[in-house]
Subunit: 355 residues, 2 copies
C-alpha cells in the first residue's frame, strides 16, 4: 500500500483549461482554483489509489456524515516557483504527519504517507503553470479528508474522501492586523480537538470573530477556556510576542495547533541568535509590557499569512497600540522564511523540498 | 418571507418509490431514507422558497466550506402514526427555535420558522407511508443546514443549504447501556459550541467513544473540561440520575445541549409527582451513591433513544453496577412520553402536534 509511486497515479487532464482567464497579478486568497485535483477514496476498509482528475464537483448522499457530524480535517501548504521554473514545497512531510495526527483524533483512517506525498508531487507537476510568482503570492494547496459514508448514526463513517486542491493566492491579510483578546468565547477545550486541524474548530470561531470585527478588530486572540488568563492562539495563526528582545510563544498543547510556521520561526530565530522562550504568557503580562514599553512586537504565524504583524490589541474595552519597530523581528523572520521557501537563499534546515 | 405557506412549496415526486423494498419490521437506526427530501437554498443574502424533490445526491464544489470549516448544524425529531393513520410530531417548534440558536453560534443565517414548519409538514404529507408503526419504531427526521459556499478563506460561507431528510428507524440502542465516565477527553469548552447541535461537536467524540467501546462501554459520560469533577452529558443524550427518589440532571449551559427530551422528562416527572433537582452533579457523589446503595437509576435522554437506561458505569478502572429496579422511573417516564408521542394518551402539555 505504502509502496505507491507517482507513476501509479492515473491522470485525466481537463479538456478546457481556465488558466488564461486568471489575473495572476491580482489574486485574492483561496478564491480561484486550478484545473485539476487529486482524489482518493477510502472504502471497504482501505485507501484506494489516488487519481488526478479535472477540478469538478463532488456528489454526496444527503446522509453523508460530513453534513451531520463534522468529521473532517485539512492541511494548508504552499508551493513556490523560482526564476528557473523549479518548484518547491515547504516541509511537506510535516503536513502529512500532522494530517494523520488530526485523523486519529477525529476517528478518520490514517492516510499512507506515500499517498499524500506522491499524490502531491503528481498534482504539482500537472499544475506547475498555476504557481504564481508575483511577490507575496504562491500556490496555496489544500489537502483535506472528509466523511462521505452514509447514515444518521452518530459514529465514524465507513467511507472517506481525501482530496488535494490548489488555489493560486495572494496575501491572506492586507496590512497589519488589529486583534481582540477574547474572554467570553473559547476556541477549544482541555482534552478536546483544538490541536487538530478539524473543520469544527474553525466554524466555532466565526461568530466571536464577527463580533470582534464589528468592534473594529480583524482577528480574535483566544485565551484558555478555564481562566481566560493565558494567551493561546489566533485561530488561523499561532501568536508570537516580543518583550524587549525575547520572542515568546505559548507551548503547544491539546488546545493549540502545532503550527509548521510556528516551529520554523522558533528554529530560525534561534539560528539567528534571537532569544526565544516557549512558555505560557499571561494576558496581564502582555498588558503590563504594553504599558511599560517593553512590548516591542506581536505577530501571528501560519501557512496562509506566513507572518502577520499585529498593530495592536483590544482588552476589556481598552486599546493598546504596538509602536512600529525599525528592523522588526517580524520582517526579518518573514523575509528569511520566504527567501528559503522561494529558493532565494540557502536552506540550512532542510525544509525546502524540490519537486 | 415568513408568510410562506405549505402551498408555496413545489413538490416533484419520485418516479420510482423504493418503499416496497423496505422491511418496516426490521429497521436499524437512520440507515434507509424515504423517497423525498425538502431542500432550501440560502444565496444572495436570503433563504429561497423550499422545494420537495426526490431523495437524491447533493453536488458541491470541492472548496465548499462544509468540507473545510465544519459549518453545519442539525436537529433530530420523530414523526409517529396512530391507529387512524393520523400523523403526529413532537414539540417541533422547539426544534426550529434550537436550530436557530445553533445557527447564530455557528454564523449561519437564521432560517424563517415558517420555512421549517411548513416545509416539514409538506414533507410529512408526501412521506406519510414511510412512518413505521411497529413498537419502538418511528420516522426519524433530520433537518440540517450546512455551508455550501465556496472558498478557502476561514470565514462564514455566503451560501447554505437547508435540507430535511427522513429515515424510518428502529431503536438507537438495543438494550441497556454501559457507560464510561471520561476524565481525559472532553466534549466542549466553556464559551464554546457545546450547547449547539453543531456537526463538529459529534466528530470530536468519536475517538474517545471508540476507546471506551474497546473497554466494553457503549457510551461516554462527559465531565467538565476544567476539573472533570462534574457530570455533563452523554454526547448524544442528556443524563439523568436517580438518587433515592430524586431525579437529578445537570443544568444546561454553554457546554450542555438543551435537550427537548430532557426538558419534557423534567416537566413530566414534576406532573407525576416525582421529585426533580436540576443541579450540578459531582462524579464523586455518583460513586458514593452507588457505594451506599442510594443510586437507584441512571438513564440517557434524547430524541433518537428517547430514554435509554444505563446498566452501570466505569470510573478510574472500577465498574459500578446499577441494580435493576421494579417500576423504574425510566420505564414509567418512557412509557408515558412515548404514549403521548404516539397519541395513545391525553397530552396535557400541548407537546403533540397533529399534521
Amino acid at each position: 500500500m505504502a509502496a505507491l509511486t507517482k507513476n501509479d497515479i492515473k491522470i485525466t487532464r481537463t479538456e478546457s483549461s481556465k488558466i488564461s482567464s486568471i489575473d495572476f497579478n491580482n489574486l485574492a486568497f483561496g478564491q480561484v482554483f486550478s484545473d485539476h485535483m487529486l482524489i482518493c477514496d477510502y472504502k471497504n476498509g482501505k485507501w484506494h489509489t489516488p487519481e488526478i482528475v479535472p477540478y469538478s464537483p463532488i456528489t454526496l448522499d444527503p446522509s453523508a456524515k460530513i453534513f451531520h457530524y463534522g468529521q473532517s480535517i485539512f492541511e494548508g501548504m504552499k508551493a513556490y516557483k523560482d526564476d528557473k521554473e523549479d518548484v518547491f514545497m515547504f516541509r511537506p512531510m510535516d503536513n502529512v504527519r500532522r494530517l494523520n495526527v488530526s485523523a486519529k483524533r477525529l476517528s478518520i483512517p490514517e492516510l499512507p504517507e506515500a499517498y499524500f506525498m506522491e499524490g502531491l508531487k503528481a498534482l504539482l507537476e500537472v499544475e506547475k503553470d498555476w504557481i504564481p510568482t508575483a511577490e507575496g503570492s504562491s500556490l496555496y494547496i489544500r489537502p483535506f479528508i472528509f466523511a462521505s459514508g452514509k447514515g444518521f448514526h452518530a459514529s465514524p463513517a465507513d467511507e472517506y474522501k481525501f482530496i488535494i486542491c490548489a488555489a493560486p493566492s495572494g496575501a491572506y491579510f492586507s496590512g497589519k492586523v488589529n486583534v481582540l483578546i477574547e474572554e467570553t468565547y473559547s476556541r477549544s477545550a482541555n482534552g478536546g480537538v483544538g490541536f487538530a486541524k478539524a473543520g469544527g474548530n474553525y466554524a466555532g470561531q466565526f461568530y466571536p470573530t464577527q463580533l470582534a470585527k464589528a468592534k473594529g478588530y480583524q482577528q480574535v486572540i483566544w485565551t484558555d477556556d478555564t481562566t481566560h488568563e493565558f494567551i493561546e492562539e489566533a485561530g488561523a495563526m499561532n501568536v508570537f510576542i516580543r518583550i524587549n528582545d525575547t520572542l515568546l510563544t505559548s507551548p503547544v498543547s491539546d488546545r493549540i495547533l502545532d503550527g509548521i510556521t510556528r516551529k520554523s520561526i522558533l528554529q530560525l530565530a534561534e539560528a539567528e541568535g534571537l532569544k526565544t522562550d516557549v512558555r505560557k504568557v499571561k494576558v496581564s503580562e502582555l498588558v503590563e509590557a504594553s504599558r511599560n514599553g517593553s512590548l516591542k512586537e506581536m505577530f501571528g504565524a501560519g501557512t496562509a499569512a506566513v507572518i502577520s504583524p499585529i498593530s495592536g490589541f483590544g482588552f476589556r474595552g481598552e486599546d493598546f497600540i504596538i509602536p512600529e519597530q525599525d528592523a522588526s523581528f517580524a520582517s526579518k523572520l518573514k523575509n528569511r522564511i520566504v527567501a528559503i521557501q522561494t529558493n532565494k537563499v540557502e536552506d540550512p534546515f532542510g525544509w525546502r523540498v524540490k519537486l
